[in-house]
Symmetry: C2
């Protein structure tokens, strides 16, 4: 087939062809002219896959945990997609992250699709780029898609916006309890996982976490109580229990109607982010009284204020 | 004067009245109906203050360092504003940050204005709310405004977008070198400060940092080479040298023309953020074919795709 025959690629992805999946995600990620065509072709592929966001501070073992989850999912015969999101610096496009060698255990397994994606710090962040990639995995028949954020940053919070279930990882002895609270990630977790549970301090991390969680109360997801699972991802200890909790959360979401609400909110944010990106591009191309560079100069020189300048942009649309 | 007579408040701020400064910042932060009026009244107050962003991972000593810098600035007879930005959770408005007791040494000094501000995770983040507060400090005659981010998150990166000079703090033994690289904050630093320099590992942190900095090269700010200063903020050790580097960077910015470029870019982002916020509000109020909830439902059900839905929004503006 021609390399970028979108209909053929989507058909190939639905049949589970790894190359078609990879090519579609590239088209999505590169924001190619074919992006809209891909989006339209994927619209009717159902939202079947369970999207699980995995977040936590650097060093807690996100990659290892993701890999361990892939292992137990595959052992159960389930198809898995992995999307690793790099919150690459918005300033250079960042080449500092070239050190990642991961997921090698699963690189040759036809039931696993693995993909890294830069979030690039653009307007809308994750919510503008990742959903299309998730749709590709979905079309390819993945039962579960694991979305892992690499490093720190806003993407830790944003991940809750694109996932059905958000898994927050912690590790003993990193002061993560309080730090996590400050970053707001405790509030986004459906399931908490204390990884490296064989290390000193694992139980006190669990205690601290349990105490903070009891303060924050219900997160609006109905009757779901965030649970805490202890794992040692490197040995696989606790990982089956972790998957059981993930599956239980999915069942809870479906039964309570929360799944539909989350997906509706997600679609809303995605549409909004795309529309705002389009508007931002139009702003950059306005001229005359609404030339953005000229308005910025006037603001710096004190000739106008930012609100008046913004009004001119909006009026000129 | 009447509490919210904007012209009188601005006149009071220019005279250095702490109450007028505090009231104006409240008007700005609360996004009150007076916000536009305040913005217009402040437009012609010059961009005289040197805005210094202070960022770094939790635990490196940002508050202590900020306080120590205030001390040496005041000793030199310079007026100082401090804006502490809380990256409060976008999900609850976050009440977890009630534990901050800070800057008490300077609370009664009339030459120091101190203010906390929530960034609230709204569209545009820091770049939509902080600049107006900075203008208030500027109008009040501050020579230097220190903007400190509390906790972690996107605000660490955003701070570079609102500051003339960005100071990145690290501390020994926190694995900060590599972590910072991942978060992209190394690329935004004009000056690096290894705080807690009396602790084990301070020199190896400096070495690691120097090595990473030599890889990233010049940041586009002309001939400025990011420097590394060692401090013990709790005792004041190295803090005068830190201020000297901050002043040197300001001189470099002015001499190279980079100051003007950074401020132009900042104004541009600010205008853009305000305009996009306005557009986003309009999106939320569209109806009929462009009703956002209805479009989201169609996307979830596979009846349309997000790009087509976004097009409808933009067209309906």
């Amino acid at each position: 087939m021609p390399a970028d025959d979108v209909a053929a690629l989507v058909a190939g992805a639905v049949e589970g062809q790894p190359r078609a999946v990879a090519r579609l995600i590239s088209l999505v990620e590169d924001r190619s002219p074919k992006l809209r065509e891909v989006s339209a072709a994927l619209a009717s592929t159902a939202g079947r896959a369970h999207v699980v966001g995995i977040t936590g501070s650097p060093g807690v073992g996100k990659s290892t945990s993701t890999s361990a989850l892939v292992g137990v999912l595959r052992a159960a015969g389930r198809r898995v997609g992995v999307l690793a999101v790099d919150p690459t610096s918005p300033f250079t496009g960042g080449a500092l992250l070239g050190d990642r060698i991961r997921m090698q255990d699963h690189a040759t397994d036809a039931g696993v699709y693995i993909r890294s994606m830069a979030s690039r710090g653009h307007l809308g962040g994750l919510s503008a780029s990742a959903p299309q990639a998730l749709r590709v995995f979905d079309a390819a028949g993945c039962d579960v898609v694991l979305v892992e954020t690499v490093g720190v940053g806003q993407s830790e919070i944003e991940i809750a916006g694109i996932a059905d279930t958000t898994l927050v990882l912690l590790a003993p002895g990193m002061g993560d309890g309080i730090q996590a609270a400050k970053a707001g990630i405790l509030e986004i977790g459906d399931i908490f996982c204390v990884n490296k549970a064989d290390r000193d301090g694992a139980n006190s991390t669990r205690r601290e976490l349990r105490s903070v969680l009891s303060m924050t109360g219900d997160d609006g997801g109905g009757s779901w109580k965030p649970s805490i699972v202890m794992t040692v991802a490197t040995t696989g200890q606790g990982v089956e229990e972790l998957l059981a909790r993930i599956d239980a959360h999915r069942e809870h979401l479906a039964a309570s109607g929360e799944l539909g609400r989350r997906r509706l909110a997600r679609a809303r944010r995605e549409i909004e982010a795309l529309a705002l990106t389009e508007v931002q591009q139009r702003f950059a191309h306005l001229s005359g009284h609404a030339d953005l560079d000229d308005l910025a100069r006037q603001v710096v020189e004190g000739g106008t204020d930012p609100f008046a300048a913004a009004d001119r942009l909006v009026q000129a649309l």
